[in-house]
Symmetry: C2
Subunit: 422 residues, 2 copies
């Protein structure tokens, strides 16, 4: 880690800048893939899957027999773990339901909101080195709770835990297809894959570019994405080995992972660094992690106020507060995806099984975006009912405003009703 | 209106298709505007404002004296109306606050969500024929309730009601600038206009294209936009003159407004059409409205089930249910922006003053998007705290899942903690 001692506030933006990724070249590569799938459907999916993933696209969803086989391939220990995680995630997301509350804004004028599950959603789970069955839970459980009628999962992965998790969350169909072409299939529909109304899930730069391009056309997506990241604020109450392990668990995601350590104590930075080097040696993915750590920073600041300001300016995806009174500090955090309090709350708890969602805003997007939740899978429809007395009371307000906006048919819609009630 | 009697379900998608607008040419025109403002700031704003809007961009926000003058220019009647609307909108949005609820997902594992206002938001209010001060209320009130620290309003309009509403909602600064260049200023910041984290508000095709382009770069926006639209489902309990007035109040927004009438009764369609023609003649904006009406459709269906299926397939921005038992019908609506029940609930109530938000998903986006609400101005940050007993109970679950995903540093972050507790 690069250690930066007491940098001036003027230098913070530069220190904390994420690497800017030029997306133009990738978008140019992805746009024709989208167009091919949009115009030629399954035929294009088959060609592109063969070309990019060496997968023969069958045009059929994964069958019952394969789902049953997947379940048999898993150890009982792993199935029990997945079920425990499922239960915790379900409990936390279940509590996010909002009951309908009718509000009488003035006598005779009643307004409310109904939450309705998005009818068709698409979940994308990448292939690659880590089979992200945990992400199937994180996206599938709120989809299931929201009452989404069709939950379509696309993945190039053959890992049985992905199929097992898909069954638990009630996925309608799993299709073996990956990359930008899978996003295109979900966005436009093909002969085999239904068009969905919102697309969720992580992926490489091609998948991300595909999601952003279909979003520009109006498709709803979970959120923009960037490399995963953690910031840890540690004081002398932190256990250095735990802090090091948390930094590494972020760093192993990939060489582009962002890792930031903030402290008011030089000796904390020093002891964490020593623990980091020791633990790094023992990691199977140490090459990836070492690159991420080499690009990462430990920043020494003067005061807790400095630390909090810096963390709010950074807007980390994951923020671990290994400090005294972490809950009080958390109250002062305005920008973060998810916050982990104290020495016994590692990021990996939230990544897998504590109950919170691990699909979170990266790249500073936490300034405006929330992580995935039950909200992400519902629309809230407003409803209103006005009585005759209500329109009598409210009508003149509407008439005055419509007239001032020169929208006289809007005024007339009220005036006619008022006249009928005289 | 074109009257279509009992079209087959196979023909519905074509009947209900929105006009597809090619955005490519507009994006090509807008991209250099964004780039100029991004690289040259206020100098570019001044040039572009002069060129497109014949406004001299001063580089200063609207001053106190101008705000005070605006208030003096409004009639007491209009001020009272705006205050009444403010109160109702505030009451409805205030009820959308979600209290923090700590969930113990298992013993010793506590998770919750905190709602935090987005620190800096930008509101755009277009110029043009209708001075949309009502939109200042619809965007500014939830921003104010959310506790957004900076609320920046850009508008080319000089209408005093816009400045009056801006003061009511606590806008930080108003800048006199419009078009794609205003969106660019909010997205990138200039010497005079602060960069914001989320951009809201309606506009012409250039403004919409600018919002979609900055969204592709990760900027948060309210939602994608298209022409405004209403669908009305009417039976023989509907008052034809009211239905006609509601159709026209949508149609007067512009020639591209979408208007759809659905009924199971031919005589309802006939009598509404007669009332429509009579009322149209009296409208000052009759040319715009007549064009929109000419492009609009009345669809006769066999049964209530057909009507509901058709309305759900259309996913209207505004849906008026002028039918018997409208609340029961509303329960079966899965796709709509906002629903208006019965004969005395005109769309213009929700447009101005009943309390609901009028920034709603158009163009079928209601399948996945909600209208603007308090939620649109907050991020929800998840927080978790795990005790020593909690990590002992949950740890093995995390270890098993991390190992199965080949993320061994994630596992190690737990194993180290468990070892320390033995």
């Amino acid at each position: 880690m690069q250690i930066l001692s007491f940098p001036s506030r003027a230098d913070w933006p530069t220190l904390m800048a994420r690497p800017v990724q030029s997306t133009e070249a990738i978008e140019k590569a992805v746009a024709p893939i989208l167009e091919q799938v949009r115009t030629r459907g399954d035929a294009a999916l088959a060609e592109l899957s063969e070309k990019f993933d060496q997968i023969a696209y069958t045009g059929f969803p994964v069958q019952e027999a394969d789902l049953a086989a997947a379940e048999r391939q898993l150890s009982d220990e792993l199935k029990t773990a997945i079920q425990r995680a499922y239960q915790n995630i379900r409990t936390f997301h279940e509590a996010q339901r909002q009951p309908v509350e009718k509000i009488e804004t003035m006598p005779g004028v009643t307004c409310w909101r109904r939450s309705v599950g998005i009818e068709k959603v698409g979940l994308y789970i990448p292939g690659g080195t880590a089979p992200l069955f945990s992400t199937v839970l994180m996206l599938g459980i709120p989809a299931q709770l929201a009452g989404c009628k069709e939950i379509i999962l696309c993945t190039p992965s053959h890992h049985p835990a992905i199929l097992y998790a898909a069954q638990l969350v009630g996925v309608t169909n799993v299709f073996r297809v990956g990359g930008a072409q899978a996003i295109a299939a979900l966005a436009y529909g093909t002969e085999s894959i239904p068009q969905v109304y919102k697309i969720f899930g992580p992926g490489n730069q091609y998948v991300t570019a595909a999601k952003m391009l279909v979003a520009k056309e109006g498709m709803a997506i979970d959120m923009p994405a960037g490399p995963s990241e953690v910031a840890i604020y540690a004081d002398e109450t932190a256990v250095p080995a735990f802090v090091a392990a948390d930094l590494l668990s972020q760093a192993e995601h990939g060489a582009d992972s962002q890792v930031l350590l903030v402290s008011t104590h030089k000796n904390v930075v020093t002891t964490v660094n020593i623990a980091l080097m020791t633990q790094l040696e023992r990691l199977p993915r140490r090459d990836l992690a070492a690159q991420a750590i080499a690009n990462s920073k430990a920043i020494l600041v003067e005061t807790q106020d400095d630390a909090i300001d810096l963390l709010n300016a950074y807007a980390a995806e994951h923020l671990i507060l290994s400090v005294e009174n972490p809950e009080a500090v958390a109250e002062r955090i305005t920008n973060a995806g998810s916050i982990f309090l104290g020495n016994y709350t590692p990021e990996s708890a939230g990544d897998y099984a504590s109950g919170t969602n691990h699909t979170l805003p990266t790249n500073g997007f936490a300034r405006a975006y929330s992580g995935v939740s039950l909200d992400s899978f519902v629309k809230k429809i407003t409803v209103q009912s006005i009585s005759q007395d209500g329109i009598k009371a409210l009508g003149p307000t509407i008439e005055a405003m419509a007239e001032a906006e020169s929208l006289l048919a809007h005024k007339q819609a009220v005036s006619l009703r008022l006249a009928s009630l005289q």
